[in-house]
Symmetry: C2
Subunit: 195 residues, 2 copies
DNA sequence: TCCCGATTCATACGAGTGTATAAATCACTC
DNA sequence: GAGTGATTTATACACTCGTATGAATCGGGA
């Protein structure tokens, strides 16, 4: 396990992530990853035992920073602060692809993964979702539990949804640059949780 | 082109749509479609010249009712009415799969289609998006053009995003039944376009 | 220098993909 | 009833996929 080994592993992860972000999960294959990494494709099977394992590792790598960011959502903080601590990690860049967002990688993987991997992502998200709702309930007395849950789902869906599946072009609306601006997002979420 | 012919065509379209909705575009193939339709797979190539054409037709079939519904968004109507005319078609059921939404089919196809088909969907959406923004601008004087565009994108993304990629399970939050209730959606959109 | 483990490479196999082709079957008119 | 065009079927080809296998190559201690 010399330095060159780690480099190849990283190159493969980065290449796979890049493909995932800009071509989508459809365009991902062992050979494409190898080619994009400038490396023999069969090294995917060597360094990760299967392509699924590579996806798994990529998933963990992109999930961790988001979950860590979310830990900052605490009961003591004011409403807007909580909101920011929730939303900001969702805009975090992907592990190896500064142009793409980590959430996109997670979503592509979660949408593809048939088995445990997807279940794990979903369950972690679910778990946080419950905590978030409990914490925000205090700040939104005008919304009952069902309504609050619906609003939160809509807001997070708004973040997950648009850029990934279009792979470049937005499904509705113009440039998409606005979506990456946390302030746009903050104003939107604040409004969406009001009256 | 007897009656049985039309039936087979329809059966294939319905089967493809069903797979698209519940397994996602990944699970779609000529043979799977044939099997799901209880019909020889090569009939896909016979009735549509290629699988891409089948997708195209499926796309048109699901796009049309949405676009028609959107024509009801008119300048004279009050704000809430415009909102409803915009949002309600987005919950319309898929052409052959009452359990799934037409928008999901479109999104799965648009996310996959590399070429013209996707461009067409996006451009039609884009076109309507512009008209919608112009019409709603009168009702939202508190939002400048950029802000309004961002809000509208978030709202539509909230609708397009969540159910499709999860193929059953929601990415965040509970049952997801709430998402299909137009009243939840109306309240959300109204709030998101306020202050 | 030799050796040995780690890493890279080339090749191959089985499964699945879309689609072309030709034969078989059906429905209907003359 | 025979013939004809539309429809269905069976088979095959070329391609891509993930992965297993064995050989080639590299790097560093004895």
């Amino acid at each position: 396990m010399s330095g060159s080994t780690l480099d190849t592993r990283t190159k493969l992860l980065a290449a796979a992530e890049g493909i995932l972000v800009e071509r989508g999960i459809t365009g991902l294959s062992v050979r494409k990853v190898g080619e994009a990494a400038g490396v023999n494709p069969t090294l995917v099977t060597y360094h990760f035992k299967s392509i699924a394992n590579l996806l798994d590792e990529l998933c963990q790598l992109n999930l961790r920073p988001i979950m860590q960011g979310w830990e900052a959502v605490e009961a003591g903080k004011p409403f807007e602060e909580k909101l920011r601590c929730w939303l900001e990690p969702m805009l975090a860049p992907a592990a190896f692809t500064p142009g793409g967002r980590a959430l996109v990688v997670l979503d592509e993987i979660a949408a593809h993964g048939e088995g445990e991997l997807r279940q794990q992502v979903l369950s972690e998200m679910e778990q946080f979702s419950l905590r978030l709702r409990r914490l925000l309930a205090a700040d939104c007395p005008h919304l009952d539990d069902t309504e609050l849950r619906a609003r939160l789902r809509f807001i997070s869906a708004a973040l997950i949804g648009p850029p990934p599946r279009s792979h470049g072009a937005p499904m509705l609306g113009g440039t998409g640059k606005a979506l990456d601006d946390i302030e746009f997002l903050m104003r939107f979420a604040k409004a969406a949780l009001a009256g």
